[in-house]
């Protein structure tokens, strides 16, 4: 790539970070950002949620998936969006009302057991790593394309840069990166969508007609079934997408940056509108990339189509738009990764090291050091995995994180809020069943084993046929929680009464 693009890219990334820095500084004077009475309005928080959500997967992954596979790519957009209804109807308000900050804290509102904490931390770390891999693959492909270097060098550079950012920069500005980035990403997407539409003479019907002829798939491009030929695999993916969001630690955390359930509610509404509009526009990104960049160039830049959006920006708006889009995508990844690494590291430092290894006696300094090592560990492991995942679409990789969240976390969250009889043993078995089945099934799935060399990490016949195991692992999470509860005698009805009253009325002691 040429020097203009690189200079512009670096300038825009830098500008985003500077704006973020000042915005974050300004809010810190008006009130502590993370406390319950904090300064975020529902509208701002909604944008931050949208920002968290519109990660590399949404922007790079979905655009690529639609460009290459037409309707099947759009499945992601639908799943990610409907997931908000699950969050809004079942989880957001009760969680906010219980006033807890992490998944482990929430479960601890009902149970005190240390084991629950350990397993909740473990599932958080697993989700974080899957999510990280997706972000690193996206960032690696982006840097590879921009700077014209090998993929593995790009991943290493990005990975090391991000680790340094997290270790020395910290979390303070992350919410504002998300808000600003969400706005920039929406602007970029609207501009590109408008340009695509202009190319089709503002005729949406005409656009669909034309899409029947411009790709190698012909009329099939507009029909479902191009990518997902196994019905159960499609349904399994859709299950992971719709239930996963409600179990994602970094999304749930966002409901605590506002002062009450009402604000939490209004922030979900804002997020739903922003994210919904964005996902409608992914059609234009995908179609545009397929029509004006072409499959060959898209797959040449990245086999899984992750570079469709930046390439489309270049085709339509030249270097300036390309740099802008790439820079926003990069800032997105940086922000998401920072949040992810920190939630993984704090799960380790706070829950496993602080509460279990040191039995609550660790000093702040010891915990900080543990958190730093944990960040390093999470980053190194994710970088290593990302090196093998180049050929995977980032939206798909994220769907695996969603699957773990849906299998290990969601059943326990729902049981904790709604099931009277639920107990500690049930929480432990539920999370373990969901987590282990998801991990084991992924590791024997076609993602890891492929008969053709180079298509997956190992060569061989996959033992489990589905690429996304949610269809099996989510029910196992629910069954595990049920069996554990039924087969152990303990039940704490007064504790449930407390949780129920607090969750439903918003009362605080």
């Amino acid at each position: 790539m040429n020097a203009t693009v690189i200079t512009l890219f670096l300038a825009i990334v830098l500008a985003t970070l500077v704006i973020t820095y000042y915005a974050a500084k300004k809010t810190q004077t008006t009130g502590d950002f993370y406390t319950a009475g904090g300064g975020l309005t529902g509208w701002q928080n909604g944008l931050a949620i949208a920002g968290d959500y519109l990660s590399a997967a949404s922007f790079l992954g979905i655009a690529g998936a639609i460009a290459l596979y037409g309707f099947d790519g759009f499945f992601y957009s639908i799943g990610f969006l409907i997931a908000y209804l699950v969050v809004m109807f079942l989880v957001a308000e009760p969680l906010r009302n219980l006033g807890k900050y992490t998944l482990a804290d929430m479960i601890n509102a009902r149970f005190d057991a240390k084991k629950v904490r350990a397993i909740a931390a473990l599932s958080t770390i697993t989700i974080v790593i899957f999510y990280m891999i997706a972000q690193l693959v996206g960032a690696g492909a982006l840097i590879q394309l921009l700077f014209d270097i090998d993929y593995w060098i790009a991943v290493l550079i990005v990975g090391v840069m991000m680790t340094i950012y997290v270790l020395f920069g910290g979390m303070t500005a992350t919410s504002w990166v998300q808000i600003i980035k969400a706005v920039l990403l929406m602007i970029g997407t609207v501009i590109i969508a408008f340009m695509v539409l202009a190319k089709f003479n503002f005729n949406i019907l005409g656009m669909f007609s034309e899409m029947k002829t411009v790709t190698s798939h012909g009329a099939d491009y507009l029909n479902p079934g191009l990518k997902y030929k196994v019905p159960l695999d499609t349904i399994s993916l859709m299950l992971a997408l719709v239930l996963g969001t409600a179990g994602l630690p970094h999304i749930l955390m966002r409901f605590f940056t506002v002062k009450n359930a009402k604000t939490a509610r209004s922030s979900v509404v804002t997020a739903t509108w922003v994210v919904g509009i964005f996902y409608v526009l992914t059609i234009f990104l995908g179609f545009g990339a397929a029509a004006f960049v072409g499959e060959e160039l898209i797959t040449a830049a990245n086999p899984a189509g992750n570079m469709a959006a930046p390439l489309l920006a270049e085709a339509l708006g030249g270097n300036l738009l390309m740099s802008f889009v790439s820079a926003v995508a990069f800032a997105t990844i940086l922000a998401v990764v920072a949040g992810l690494v920190l939630s993984g590291a704090s799960a380790f430092a706070h829950d496993i090291y602080g509460q279990i290894i040191k039995k609550g006696k660790a000093t702040d300094k010891q915990q900080m050091i543990a958190a730093r090592y944990a960040s390093l560990g999470v980053s190194v492991f994710s970088i290593l995995c990302a090196l093998f995942a180049q050929t995977m679409n980032v939206a798909f990789l994220v769907s695996l994180a969603f699957c773990v969240a849906a299998s290990a976390n969601l059943p326990v969250i729902l049981y904790t809020i709604y099931w009277k009889r639920f107990n500690t043993t049930g929480a432990i078995t539920g999370m373990l069943f969901g987590l282990l089945s998801a991990i084991i099934l992924v590791s024997i799935s076609p993602n890891v084993f492929s008969p053709t060399e180079g298509a997956a990490i190992l060569v061989g016949e996959p033992i489990f046929p589905l690429t996304n195991p949610a269809l099996i692992s989510v029910p196992l999470g629910f069954i595990g929680g049920y069996l554990g509860t039924v087969f152990s005698k303990e039940a704490d009805l007064k504790r449930f009464a407390e949780v129920q009253v607090k969750a439903n009325t918003g009362y605080r002691e």
Partner: protein, 116 residues
């Protein structure tokens, strides 16, 4: 109900509100019933509506017939999911305002007095 009376004694000592009493009260039960009556049917509806799309596209092909010009029913179904999300979003906010009022009453009548 043994557990309940045990807890009552305990709660006086800890000056904690008696949550079980609140949970048993008619007004709280009414709130829970109304909530359930609102949330459960809508949740079932949107999940069924959602899964209907991949099920129909995986096992049948009739959604591939054109509806408007070259836009097939599958795309229209997909767009309908977006519209459903927004509509449900609005309904939820409207309905929640009612629940808010009910919750406030419960807090005021039953929990307020026991706060410090």
């Amino acid at each position: 109900m043994n557990v309940g009376s045990d807890y009552k004694e305990l709660s006086y000592q800890e000056t904690k509100p008696d949550y079980q009493q609140v949970a048993e009260s008619a007004s709280f039960k009414d709130l829970i019933t109304r909530r359930k009556r609102f949330i459960i049917p809508l949740t079932i509806f949107f999940l069924v509506f959602y899964f209907l799309l991949p099920v129909l596209t995986s096992y049948t092909t009739f959604l591939n017939t054109p509806a408007i010009g070259d836009i097939s029913w599958a795309w229209l179904f997909a767009f309908a999911q977006f519209i459903m999300t927004w509509v449900f979003c609005i309904i939820y906010v409207k309905k929640s305002a009612q629940f808010d009022r009910q919750s406030d009453e419960i807090i005021e009548d039953q929990l307020g007095g026991e706060r410090e």
